[in-house]
């Protein structure tokens, strides 16, 4: 048995970016800087590109994309090829991104694959990092892209892809499934749904103060709060989820726990208190309601 095959290394390194398919980029762009507070990245390829941390970009608003996608960095070329093979044998064929597609994603190489539900996921190599430090558009205290929540028609089927990438289930609340790929409690959350798509995109912020300040900041601007301020019992994070452009939901999170090596996935009840221990409820997004989560 070769050392390669027994390598314990997890192929997935990090969640790198979200590409949002939008039809009205200007309004979404205003939201990205004035509300989310991200930094616009001037470049020749993507007019609506944004930073949230030391990475070259973590958000791209795309009018060309048919559907939204997320980028997951893979350890190295060998891991990427192995992942591609494993995905193909699991019935999830990956397509090699073209040179142009890689350029638009600011990565050296990418495989484009979809989970069983149909969520598009880019498996990328060497995503671009920026030499200059992050300079936010407003003082929202953003520390970086933190996690994404995906809709899932069949959690177990969708888990196949994540298992191949080395992600592990860290906790479940009802059927809501938290997936970790690094030391953090989760980077991806799967919510039971009847369709594909993003439930929310979450940016980490530096403090509870930052979450609460944004709570009042968005309210004053008549932006709908989808859920929160709240606190997720499984991950410990304080969150605020609010409506973005074109039906997308964004979230600020603070206090996402690290996961201990000895951690075993816990099953939380399918109650509202398993999704928010403070008592906030969501009335607009069915995936975020306990009835659906169960």
């Amino acid at each position: 048995m070769s050392a390669e095959k027994t390598s314990p290394r997890i192929p997935a390194i990090q969640l790198c970016y979200v590409r949002l398919a939008v039809s009205q980029p200007q309004a979404a762009a205003t939201f990205a800087t004035e509300i989310l507070g991200l930094e616009h990245v001037p470049n020749k390829l993507e007019p609506f590109l944004y930073r949230s941390d030391s990475r070259f970009h973590t958000l791209c608003l795309s009018t060309a994309a048919a559907k939204s996608s997320i980028g997951i960095e893979i350890n190295d070329e060998a891991d990427l090829d192995r992942a591609a093979e494993a995905l193909a044998s699991a019935g999830l064929p990956a397509r090699e991104a073209t040179v142009d597609e890689c350029a638009q994603r600011f990565v050296r190489r990418a495989l484009i694959v979809a989970d069983a539900t149909g969520n598009e996921i880019d498996l990328v190599l060497r995503p671009a990092q920026s030499g200059r430090r992050y300079f936010p558009s407003r003082d929202a205290g953003v520390t970086g892209l933190q996690s994404v929540a995906l809709r899932s028609r069949a959690i177990n089927d969708d888990l196949k892809l994540w298992t191949i990438l080395g992600a592990r289930v860290t906790d479940r609340a009802g059927e809501v499934t938290y997936l970790g790929i690094d030391q953090k409690h989760h980077r991806v959350v799967l919510y039971p749904s009847d369709r594909a798509g993003l439930v929310y995109v979450s940016y980490g912020v530096e403090s509870m103060d930052a979450v609460m300040q944004s709570n009042y900041f968005v309210q004053e601007r008549q932006i709908k709060i989808v859920q929160g301020p709240g606190r997720e019992p499984a991950s410990g994070q304080i969150f605020l989820r609010f409506a973005g452009p074109e039906g997308y939901v964004f979230s600020y999170g603070y206090g996402l726990r690290d996961i201990e090596p000895s951690h075993r996935p816990r099953q939380f009840t399918a109650d509202a208190s398993s999704l928010c221990e403070w008592g906030s409820e969501c009335t607009d997004v069915t995936e975020l309601q306990p009835a659906r989560a169960g």
């Binding site: 509870m208 103060d209 609460m212 300040q213 709570n215 009042y216 900041f217 004053e220 301020p229 709240g230 606190r231 221990e277 403070w278 008592g279 906030s280």
Partner: protein, 282 residues
């Protein structure tokens, strides 16, 4: 100088004792210490009571402070008498109603009813809350003032209070290490502006926000954070319009000798650094 050691209790009249009881236990989350026909004694910590509702006029509100002993109580009475405050010495029956050994009553310059008490009772039984609000104890009061500068002088010159910070001309004053025990608030006449209980954690403040909202309790300010004391807070309205506050994380003034009061502007961000706006009518 009158040496206030700590806050002891609040006494408030109410037109509807049943309603007050329901609010105090189901919303505020205090423990009933003792209940007689005309009065309800509520606990928030290891003291026998820190809040008393009695059948009477809701405008009849009193704040009790503890002083060291009867010698100092008598000295305080003499000081107040000299300054022209009318001082009432508590009768044994009145002392029993307050669960104290001795007390005197007087009015501060605005007309707030103040009592100085000696040996307020503690309870041997530990505090057991009526609901899981996380209350750790009665902590401070807001008092109306019709003249902030005059009242600050009374509390700091006649009594031993020290100014921790000011918002505009409004002083937040301490009598021990806790950032403030008395907060002055501009008002048209005497009365308690708010009654504060400390809770265990940020989580408790936010849990209560949703719990009380669900019970249709008017939230008048918050959830928020005071830049002065650093406390996370929630203000909500109880019976007879009285406002209660939960807060957590009140700073302690560590260096009594060198602390200098900070001056905050009289503007909303001085009251809440998160951006919450008070819905209270002025």
């Amino acid at each position: 100088m009158i040496e206030l050691r700590d806050l002891s209790y609040v006494r408030m009249g109410t037109s509807n004792l049943e309603e007050a009881e329901s609010f105090a236990t189901k919303c505020l989350g205090l423990q009933i210490g003792e209940q007689s026909g005309k009065a309800l004694y509520l606990r928030s910590d290891d003291r026998a009571h820190t809040l008393c509702y009695f059948e009477g006029d809701p405008a009849d509100q009193t704040v009790g402070f503890e002083v060291e002993d009867e010698t100092r109580l008598n000295a305080a009475a003499a000081t107040l008498d000299q300054l022209g405050h009318s001082v009432h010495a508590g009768t044994p029956t009145e002392c029993a109603l307050r669960k104290v050994k001795a007390f005197i009553g007087f009015k501060d310059p605005t007309g707030n009813q103040i009592e100085l008490v000696v040996r307020p009772e503690r309870s041997g039984k530990r505090y057991f809350a009526s609901r899981d609000a996380g209350i750790t104890g009665f902590s401070h009061v807001g008092l109306h003032t019709t003249d902030p500068a005059r009242d600050e002088e009374f509390w700091t010159q006649v009594c031993n209070a020290r100014v921790s910070d000011r918002i505009g001309d409004i002083a937040l004053m301490r009598v021990n290490a806790i950032h403030h025990t008395i907060a002055l608030a501009p008002g048209r006449g005497p009365g308690i502006h708010h009654v504060n209980h400390q809770v265990e954690s940020n989580d408790d403040v936010l849990r209560s926000y949703y719990h009380l909202s669900g019970r249709r309790v008017p939230i008048v300010f918050g959830p928020g954070r005071h830049p002065t004391s650093g406390a996370r807070f929630l203000y909500f309205q109880g019976p007879d319009g009285m406002v209660f506050e939960y807060s957590v994380g009140v700073d302690e003034i560590e260096d009594e000798e060198t602390h200098r009061p900070r001056q905050f502007g009289f503007e909303p961000s001085s009251l809440c650094m998160w951006g919450a706006k008070s819905a209270r009518p002025r």
